[in-house]
């Protein structure tokens, strides 16, 4: 194909929907650093970006912001009131520090320590807030009458992950695990919902704590065809299909 013919295909290529043999042909051109094709791909990415602005406004739920921040290990934003309160507290503390530091260096060091402790406490409070929300979601799911409980890992050896999975077809899946050491650097745990006769569906990423405990809620409807829940170690950005043998597999029965 010449470049005029290829120029009709760059958008489909960048959207991942171009079929063979055209796809391979563009790949070959790009592999040879073809300037026309490189420019065509850039142009297609521009158009794709603008296509993304076409959907109508749909406001995301407020909780999503906190969920996103918590998922990357960043504390959720505190409310304005709390932020202001902390700001006032920080300013007050700074003033005290200045006065005391001028009169007593030793005393100043102690207060500096206190300042660090205060900062640490603040982080702990924020972290706890995220955990409280997670626990609330978990409790909500546990309290539903049609939530099913699956025990995994009991009796296996040596020391496998153990715990329970709760499945509510309407509300989601709750995973509570122990003996699950934090995934290695650059890795993360990924939850999979496996439909009967189908491919595992990626259903969220999570990390366990230093004590090997994990609590993860995947909210939303669970496909009626789901036959099992599994967890595997994946690259930190997650995978579209499991790349390692699952550590946890639990059959879901109706």
């Amino acid at each position: 194909m010449n470049h005029e013919e290829l120029s009709d295909l760059y958008e489909l290529y960048t959207q991942g929907v171009l079929e063979e043999p055209e796809r391979a042909e563009i790949e070959q051109h790009l592999g040879n650093a073809c300037p026309e094709c490189e420019a065509g791909v850039k142009g297609a990415l521009r158009l794709n970006a603008l296509l993304a602005t076409l959907p109508e406004t749909v406001e995301p739920p407020r909780r999503l912001r906190q969920r996103v921040l918590a998922s990357v290990g960043v504390e959720p934003a505190m409310s304005r009131i709390w932020r202001n309160a902390w700001a006032v507290a920080a300013v007050a503390l700074a003033m005290v520090l200045i006065v005391v530091a001028m009169s007593n260096q030793r005393r100043g060091r102690e207060l500096a320590d206190a300042d660090r402790q205060l900062a640490q406490t603040r982080l702990d409070v924020q972290r706890s807030s995220a955990e409280v929300r997670q626990v609330r979601s978990a409790l909500a799911l546990l309290n539903l009458p049609n939530t099913r409980e699956i025990v995994f890992g009991a009796g296996a050896a040596p020391e496998p992950p153990r715990g329970r999975i709760f499945v509510n077809r309407q509300q989601g899946v709750l995973l509570m695990a122990s003996n699950l050491p934090p995934a290695p650097e650059g890795k993360i745990y990924e939850l999979w919902l496996i439909p009967k006769g189908g491919n595992p569906v990626p259903s969220g990423l999570f990390q366990s704590d230093l004590q090997g405990n994990a609590l993860f809620v995947r909210s939303g409807e669970v496909d009626a065809n789901t036959a099992a829940v599994a967890v595997s170690v994946e690259p930190e950005a997650g995978s579209t299909a499991p790349t390692t043998k699952p550590l946890i597999v639990a059959a879901v029965s109706d």
Binding site: D8, E11, L12, T14, Q15, G16, V17, L18, E19, R23, V41, K42, G43, L45, R46, L47, N48, A49, L50, L51, A52, T53, L54, P55, E56, T57, V58, E59, P60, P61, L64, R65, R67, V68, L69, S71, V72, V74, E75, A77, G172, G198, N199, P200, V201, P202, S203, G204, L205, R218, S219, G220, E221, D223, E236, A237, G238, T240, A241
Partner: protein
């Protein structure tokens, strides 16, 4: 009604935001979400049509951006298009997995998620004017042209899959796709030349 666009000033702030993300500043992630969260959610929701699933996929999108931002060139890259590609691909991956289409369309969506692909794209590509121009061009397309553009971008269907879905000959579908994309490109190009 247009959902959201970035003003040129906000887009110009993106390099600073990228630097702060690379430094793992907690507030940077909050700013990133505040800047792109609504657009990302609306795009993903348009694809998957399910609020709970959209929330999961938005979370995955921002997690992926957070994990890969170190590879993004803050000075040369266009941040918004990259984030939207990551978001759209998460949603298409989901659709393909639930439809069992993974094997039929084994294309590497991830290739277009390489941050280097977004070098030398205008930082303010998502501005109000361009979004409006594209919308104008889109509504001028014929119904079938609009459908094929939507099936490709919002459902991740190949031209063969579109032909099956629409029960039309493949050649007809290809013509609709080609003429639709040409019209969109030309309209954007003409308006840019007039500006």
């Amino acid at each position: 009604m247009l959902l959201f666009v970035l003003t040129a000033k906000i887009a110009e702030d993106d390099p600073e935001l990228v630097r702060r993300l690379k430094n793992r500043e907690p507030q940077a992630m909050a700013d990133l979400y505040d800047r792109y969260g609504r657009l990302t959610y609306a795009l993903i929701f348009r694809v998957v049509r399910n609020g709970s699933v959209a929330e999961d996929l938005v979370q995955e999108t921002f997690l992926r951006v957070w994990n890969r931002v170190h590879g993004f060139d803050a000075e040369r890259g266009s941040f918004g298009p990259w984030i939207l590609t990551v978001a759209r691909n998460r949603a298409i991956d989901y659709l393909r997995s639930v439809d069992g289409r993974t094997k039929q369309t084994p294309f590497e969506l991830e290739k277009m998620e390489e941050p280097s692909q977004y070098a030398h794209i205008e930082r303010d590509i998502l501005n109000m004017d361009r979004a409006r121009i594209l919308r104008e061009a889109f509504v001028k397309l014929s119904p079938n042209q609009r459908i094929v553009i939507e099936l490709a971008y919002y459902e991740g269907l190949s031209q063969t899959e579109m032909a099956e879905r629409m029960r039309q000959p493949l050649g007809t579908v290809k013509t609709w796709v080609r003429t639709a994309l040409k019209a969109l490109r030309e309209h954007l190009g003409e308006q840019a030349a007039l500006a």
